[in-house]
């Protein structure tokens, strides 16, 4: 009589308790470490301060809350492949997501290039005196051309 009850209680998601606790512990630690790593990278690379500085808005706590929500929900929908309920205008919402992610990644790659000091070093080496804005514009256009070629000429799988 008692055995199935104990069996059920000691089974967590179809696993014996010790296996479940080992896997659970691994999962928790992995999640915590990776969250710290990925988000420390995002915070340090200076994308968010730059966007805030450009728009002149300083609601830092609110933005952080949205970063937290984005991280959590993005991860859940990625791992669980959750169907996100889009009742109408799914293409429109996807468009907004694509645009925002594009702006974000654009800032990210340029922050990365800036952190690595690629452009300043090049400028010093060849003694570039005028037209820095055109260099920056060329970088942006190059990124745009690269992204378009990548998506439309089948370079991605």
């Amino acid at each position: 009589m008692g055995t199935p009850c104990i069996q059920a209680a000691s089974n967590i998601m179809g696993l014996p308790w010790w296996q479940a606790s080992v896997l659970g512990f691994i999962g928790l630690s992995a999640g915590g470490t990776i969250a710290a790593g990925v988000f420390a990278f995002l915070a340090i690379i200076g994308v968010f301060p730059r966007i805030m500085g450009r728009t002149g808005t300083k609601r830092i706590l609110l933005y952080e809350t949205f970063i937290i929500l984005g991280g959590i929900l993005g991860n859940v929908s990625d791992l669980y492949e959750l169907p996100i309920p889009i009742w109408f205008g799914g293409t429109f919402i996807l468009g907004i997501f694509g645009l925002s992610a594009g702006i974000f990644v654009g800032c990210l790659v340029m922050s990365l290039a800036e952190t690595l000091k690629a452009v300043p070093v090049l400028n010093r080496r060849i003694g570039l005196a005028v037209g820095l804005q055109y260099v920056i514009l060329s970088v942006a256009l190059g990124k745009l051309a690269g992204a378009l070629v990548y998506f439309y000429k089948g370079m991605c799988i």
């Binding site: 998601m13 999962g27 999640g31 990776i34 949205f66 791992l79 669980y80 925002s100 820095l132």
Partner: protein, 211 residues
């Protein structure tokens, strides 16, 4: 002329936002003098009259302030304990445009949300988290994983905990009184902007320089 010296301690802040065209000492600095009368007089000294009608940052020097303060009274001797170069950030006075401000805030919120979601998704795919989890599952249990496992669940919980601990808060609820990482980064960013403005102003390099 009195032989007594009144030491005025001058503490200029690095950058000050002003909305009026007449800038006084009390707008950009804190003063202290044991003689309150002198202190009040010094605080009301006019530093600058902004003639241009546009938002601009002016890089100024403490030496001019000291000169103007010492002209107030012969007994004044200035001791500068703050910045040597400082910035007056003139912003045209205008009505707060709440709609526009909130539109920008919404825009930044959407970019932050989608950017964070995109970053974690690309990380998961890049590092092939799913396959690693399958392998780990097989290693511990000896059987193949069917669909999502406990690893996915606890990974998601751990990720949420990690992000919250890293950012030190969730919404209004704060874990400790430390400033959050973004607040720290924002201050660093603003400091760098001020430093660059001051350095650009003092730079007289000929020929090769960024225009």
């Amino acid at each position: 002329m009195s032989s007594k010296t009144n030491t005025v301690y001058l503490n200029l802040s690095e950058i000050t936002e002003v909305h009026t065209k007449d800038v006084f000492v009390r707008d950009v600095a804190k003063l202290y003098c044991s003689d309150t009368n002198i202190q009040n007089k010094c605080e009301c000294v006019k530093l600058k009259h902004i003639t241009e009608d546009r938002c601009r940052r002016y890089v100024e020097n403490a030496l001019d302030v000291i000169e103007k303060l010492e002209a107030v009274d012969p007994s004044v001797s200035v001791n500068n304990v703050g910045k040597v170069e400082y910035i007056i950030d003139y912003q045209r006075p205008r009505k707060p445009r709440y709609f526009w401000q909130w539109t920008k805030t919404l825009f930044v919120c959407v970019v932050c949300f989608c950017g964070a979601a995109f970053a974690i998704m690309t990380f998961n795919n890049d590092a092939n988290v799913r396959d690693v989890f399958k392998e780990l599952y097989r290693l511990v249990t000896g059987s193949e994983a069917q669909g999502t496992t406990i690893l996915d669940l606890t990974y998601s919980i751990g990720l949420a905990l990690g992000i919250t601990v890293f950012f030190n808060h969730f919404a209004k609820w704060k874990l400790s009184t430390d400033p959050t990482p973004l607040e720290v980064e924002m201050r660093l960013y603003e400091d760098n902007i001020s430093k660059t403005l001051i350095q650009n102003d003092g730079r007289k390099e000929q020929g090769i320089d960024i225009q």
